[in-house]
C-alpha cells in the first residue's frame, strides 16, 4: 500500500496512474484471531486501527455482513460537534474532536474534516435559557461554545431567515466554531487502510450469525457465513444490529433499533457556509462539498430494521427547513434513505466490558455516532486491549442501567446528537 504524498502523486501522474496499489486487500478469514471486531463501520475499523497502532495487537479481523462503511457510517449527515451538557459526554465527544483535528495527518488519508462551525438556533425563551446554560456548562468543561445575537446569526449564516414575524423567529444561537463536518466514507476508508497496513484482516460480505462461548462462559469465537472463527476476544460494534448479535451470546442490552432518515437536495453552488440546527422546528442542514444540501430528519416512532423509514417524517423535515430557510423552498430533493440506529434509554452510548469474559461492546450511539467515531474507536480499543475502561469511557458502562447512574442526555442533546 502506497504512502500518499505530493511526491507519490507526482510519480504516479508521470506513469499514467497505473501503478497505484489497492488500499486494503479483500481478506478471507483465518482460523483464529486475537480479536474479532463485528461491524466494519467507522467505529469498528477505527478500533482495529487503534488496536494495531497503539496497543500492538495486529492479529485482528473486522467482519461485516455487507461492505465496509455501508451501514450508518455511509448514511449519516456527517456532523461533528462536542457541545454536550454533561461532564461525561463533553469529555468523550471533545476527545473525539481532538482526534478529528489531526485525523487526516494521522491516517495519511484526507477525511476532509472541515471546521465550519455548528450553529444551534434558539426560537423561544426556553431555547435561549437552555442554550445559554449549555454554553456555560461547555465553557467550564473547556469546550468552545458562544452566544450569537440574531443579527450575528444572520452574518454567520446568510441564507438564514431572521424575520421577526416568522412563525418561529430566530432569537439568537449557540455557536461551536470547532465543530463542523467530515467526509464519512473517507473516515471508513482511511481507518480500513490504516488498519490493513498494520496487518488487520477486513472481511466483508460475511454475516456473523452467532457468538459462541466456551463451557466456562468465556467467549470462544464467532459463527459466520464463512464458518466458525476462533477468537480470544470479540468486540461488537454493530450499531442497529447490536442487540441481535449480543443476544446470541446471552447478553441482553437496553437498546431499541429505530430507522433514522436523511435526505439530500440536487447539487447547487456553494451557498451554505456552516451547519445549522434548530431543535424547535426539528431541522438540521449543511452543504456537502459536492454541493448537495444534506438534511437530517428524525427517527421514526416505531422500532424497525428496515433501512427505509416513513414519508411523514420527510414531509415534516422539509417543512421545517423551508420555515427557517425560505430561500430553499423551490429546491428539489434528490434522494432519501434510512439507517438503523440503536437507542439507549438515556440516549448515551455504551462502551463497555460485558458479563461475558472476552466480550466487549460499543453501541447505543443512537442518532449521533458519527461525530464520536475517533473518540469511541480509540477508547473502545483501549478497553478491549487492556480489559479495563479508559478514564473517558468509564462512565459509559452497561451497569449504569442497573445502578441508576444514568448519563441523561435525552433532554440535553440537540436534534442531531
Amino acid at each position: 500500500m502506497t504512502h500518499f504524498s505530493a511526491f507519490s502523486l507526482l510519480k504516479n501522474a508521470l506513469t499514467g496512474h497505473k501503478a497505484w496499489t489497492e488500499q486494503w486487500p479483500d481478506s478471507q478469514p483465518k482460523k483464529e484471531y486475537d480479536v474479532i471486531i463485528v461491524g466494519a463501520g467507522g467505529h469498528g475499523l477505527g478500533a482495529a486501527y487503534y488496536l494495531a497502532k497503539q496497543h500492538g495487537i495486529t492479529n485482528v479481523a473486522v467482519i461485516d455482513k455487507g461492505w465496509l462503511g455501508g451501514g450508518n457510517t455511509g448514511r449519516n449527515t456527517t456532523i461533528i460537534r462536542s457541545n454536550y451538557l454533561y461532564d461525561e459526554s463533553a469529555k468523550l465527544y471533545d476527545h473525539a474532536v481532538d482526534l478529528w483535528e489531526n485525523l487526516s495527518q494521522d491516517l495519511n488519508y484526507n477525511v476532509m474534516y472541515s471546521r465550519r462551525g455548528v450553529l444551534m438556533l434558539a426560537h423561544n425563551v426556553h431555547d435561549v435559557q437552555s442554550f445559554k446554560r449549555h454554553i456555560h456548562a461547555n465553557r467550564l468543561n473547556g469546550v468552545d461554545n458562544r452566544w450569537l445575537t440574531t443579527q450575528e446569526c444572520k452574518d454567520y449564516c446568510p441564507p438564514l431567515n431572521i424575520a421577526q414575524n416568522a412563525r418561529y423567529p430566530v432569537m439568537g444561537g449557540a455557536l461551536q466554531e470547532r465543530a463542523g463536518t467530515a467526509r464519512h466514507d473517507a473516515v471508513a476508508w482511511g481507518y480500513a487502510r490504516g488498519a490493513a497496513m498494520r496487518g488487520v484482516d477486513i472481511i466483508q460480505n460475511c454475516p456473523v450469525t452467532a457468538i459462541r462461548r466456551n463451557a466456562d462462559g468465556s467467549v470462544a469465537g464467532v459463527e459466520t457465513a464463512k464458518g466458525f472463527i476462533k477468537a480470544k476476544k470479540v468486540a461488537v460494534s454493530a450499531a442497529g444490529h447490536t442487540s441481535v448479535v449480543m443476544e446470541t451470546a446471552g447478553v441482553r442490552l437496553p437498546l431499541e433499533s429505530y430507522p433514522l432518515q436523511a435526505l439530500v437536495s440536487e447539487p447547487i453552488k456553494p451557498i451554505f457556509p456552516c451547519v445549522v440546527m434548530s431543535n424547535a422546528v426539528h431541522a438540521y442542514i449543511s452543504q456537502s462539498d459536492k454541493g448537495e444540501l444534506v438534511i437530517g430528519s428524525g427517527t421514526d416512532q416505531y422500532t424497525s430494521y428496515s433501512q427505509r423509514g416513513g414519508l411523514p417524517l420527510i414531509e415534516h423535515t422539509v417543512a421545517a427547513i423551508t420555515e427557517v430557510f425560505p430561500i430553499f423552498n423551490r429546491m428539489r430533493m434528490l434522494r432519501k434513505w434510512g439507517g438503523i440506529v440503536d437507542v439507549t434509554p438515556d440516549r448515551s452510548a455504551i462502551i463497555s466490558k460485558t458479563p461475558v469474559e472476552g466480550l466487549y461492546v460499543n453501541c447505543g450511539w443512537g442518532t449521533g455516532g458519527f461525530k464520536a467515531t475517533p473518540g469511541a474507536a480509540h477508547t473502545f480499543a483501549w478497553t478491549v486491549a487492556k480489559n479495563e475502561p479508559h478514564p473517558i469511557n468509564a462512565p459509559f458502562t452497561m451497569e449504569r442501567f442497573r445502578t441508576g447512574r444514568l448519563i441523561d442526555e435525552a433532554a440535553a442533546a440537540a436534534v442531531a446528537h
Binding site: 441481535v244 437498546l255 433499533s257 416505531y302 424497525s304 430494521y305 428496515s306 442501567f401
Partner: protein
C-alpha cells in the same frame, strides 16, 4: 406510510393518526419495594428489540384515543395483527402461517 387497523374503531387508517407506545406485555411489578436492582433494570430498560415479529403497543391518538396491541414484523414493517388491550398474546406461529 404504515396503514394500521384500530381494533376498537374497526378501521384501517394511516400511521399519522397513531402514536407508538413501545413493547407490549411489559408487566409492572406487583411488589415494587421488593424488587432487586436487576429486576428494575429488566422492567425499566431491557427490551426485546427483535428482528422479526414484535409485540408492541399503539395508541389511536387522533381517533378513539385508546391503546391497543399489535404484532408487526420489524423487517418488513408489515402488521401481522392488532388486538385489544388486555387480550392474550396471539400465537405467533398461526400469524406467520397466514403470511406464507
Amino acid at each position: 406510510m404504515l396503514l394500521i387497523h384500530c381494533p376498537y374503531c374497526e378501521e384501517t387508517l394511516p400511521e399519522a393518526e397513531f402514536t407508538y407506545a413501545g413493547q407490549a406485555h411489559v408487566i409492572r411489578p406487583e411488589d415494587p419495594s421488593g424488587q432487586s436492582d436487576d429486576q428494575w433494570q429488566e422492567f425499566l430498560f431491557i427490551r426485546a428489540n427483535p428482528k422479526g415479529p414484535h409485540y408492541e403497543r399503539w395508541r389511536h391518538f387522533h381517533g378513539c384515543g385508546r391503546f391497543f396491541n399489535a404484532v408487526r414484523d420489524t423487517v418488513s414493517d408489515k402488521f401481522l395483527t392488532t388486538y385489544k388491550a388486555g387480550a392474550p398474546r396471539p400465537d405467533l406461529s398461526s400469524l406467520t402461517e397466514g403470511l406464507k
